[in-house]
């Protein structure tokens, strides 16, 4: 019973829903504020994401007539649940609570938001949303391969430091910063770009492109359902940079002054994402596919080979 209660507390209150939502709303304010500063604007006040979500909660929910009602309503909740579990697992891993294999669980949970977006937009019956769903699907196909290869680089590097088989847990991975090696740095850069695409930020906001698809995958959502999507995106802003910190940058050590350094790493990744967002134009879907499969894929193959050589020859910096 106490185990159930503890898990419920973890998922719903402390590292999970309430805490991640608070951090996520703050992070999404940071995205808009830094974007405004880059464009020499003042930008929105700090309560802006909260006001947006509260307003959406009070609005009418419209379900399209041609749409599939159940899937249309369930999709945002599925996406939110996936990101919720992902962020709980990642926060617990920073606190040292982990099990062998949670890297793979985290990888699967990271696909949930995109999957929910594809489901929800396909269920809405709008042609704009259908185009958006197709683009999102291609984008997922594009970035999953380099992201998994980047993770394999980290697993190879971690294998030299831990017991065989133990490297499949987030805590083992986060013991050392893999980014401090040639292959690790390469993998970090590629994974950062994949996270950019997962977050749906410019240059990879192809699925949600406001100029030609006018909202794309989210076009038919209104009211509380749109609010759930916005909350999901806010939580992804916490979970995905945290994933990068845990996997590549040595994690967040919750004790003493190193905790401040851990928060610094998280903010650093977030600011990198925001700066990439604000200094790039949107790419077309074929450009994105070529970028991820050809350039990022080749870079990751090189990184995997380098990491293997480093592992067998015992060269730590490779």
């Amino acid at each position: 019973m106490t185990v159930v209660l503890q898990n419920a507390f973890w998922i719903l209150i402390f590292p999970g829903l309430a805490f991640t939502l608070a951090v996520g709303l703050f992070a999404s304010w940071l995205v808009r504020k830094v974007g405004a500063l880059v464009q020499y604007r003042v930008g929105p006040p700090v309560y802006q994401p909260l006001a947006d979500v509260m307003k959406l909660m009070g609005k009418e929910i419209l379900v399209p007539q041609e749409g599939h009602r159940t899937v249309f309503i369930a999709a945002p909740l599925v996406g939110l649940a996936g990101v919720l579990l992902l962020s709980t697992i990642l926060w617990l891993a920073t606190a040292g609570i982990s099990y062998v294999g949670d890297v793979i669980v985290a990888m699967y949970l990271m696909v949930f938001p995109s999957l929910a977006l594809i489901l929800g937009s396909s269920a809405s019956g709008s042609p704009h949303a259908a185009v958006g769903a197709g683009r999102e699907m291609k984008l997922v196909l594009g970035y999953e391969l380099p992201l998994v290869l980047a993770l394999i680089v980290v697993l190879i590097k971690t294998a030299g430091w831990t017991e065989p088989g133990e490297q499949l847990s987030l805590v083992a991975i986060s013991q050392r910063a893999s980014v401090l090696s040639v292959s690790g740095a390469l993998a970090f850069i590629v994974a950062l770009l994949c996270v950019q695409a997962k977050l749906g930020f410019v240059p990879f906001d192809i699925a949600e492109s406001e100029s030609e698809l006018s909202g794309g995958v989210l076009i038919e959502y209104s009211g509380a359902l749109l609010a759930v999507w916005k909350l999901m995106q806010a939580m992804m802003l916490v979970a995905l940079p945290l994933f990068l910190v845990v996997v590549f940058l040595g994690g967040i050590d919750p004790s003493g002054l190193s905790f401040v350094w851990g928060i610094g790493k998280f903010v650093l990744v977030l600011v990198l994402v925001i700066l990439i967002k604000n200094t790039n134009p949107r790419v077309r879907i074929d450009q994105a596919m070529r970028f991820f499969w050809l350039y990022c894929g080749l870079a990751m193959v090189v990184a995997v080979i380098l990491a293997s050589i480093g592992h067998y020859r015992g060269i730590a910096w490779l």
Partner: protein, 163 residues
Amino acid sequence: MDWNLWALKKSVWVFHVNTGACNNCDIEIVNLLTPKFDVERFGIKLVGSPRHADALLVTGGGTRQAAVRLKEVYRQTAKPCIVFCMGACACGMGIFEKGYHMAGPIDTILRQVDPDAIIAYVPGCPPKPEAMIMGVVKALAALQPKEKYATERMGQAVVANPA
């Protein structure tokens, strides 16, 4: 305090509808969204879909072709929503008043769909961006909790197809 009302006032997402304007008001509206005026300070954001919108910025006098589309867009908007008539044409058809192709000013067109539509007027040809900001501020200040635009009107059926 009415938190719903507070949130609506602090986060107005606008959708831009052109119903046969000469493009002058549209230029000023786009000007409004540029870094110089930076309406994101007040939480005002341009969105691409009427489903996401809280306010419709309507320009133009409402031609017969555009009137049908305007009604459809209004029906698709999620419902506590405010309509801003931007410019002289939208407020009262302006110089096109006697035109054979006009379906009446924006408010008459919208009242055919929803007799209780909340409509605000910003006159001018074109209104300056400052005037538009002032219009939005005054309209939002005029929204009272007693109107219960959020809860009472939500259940009301907006006329489905008034031909």
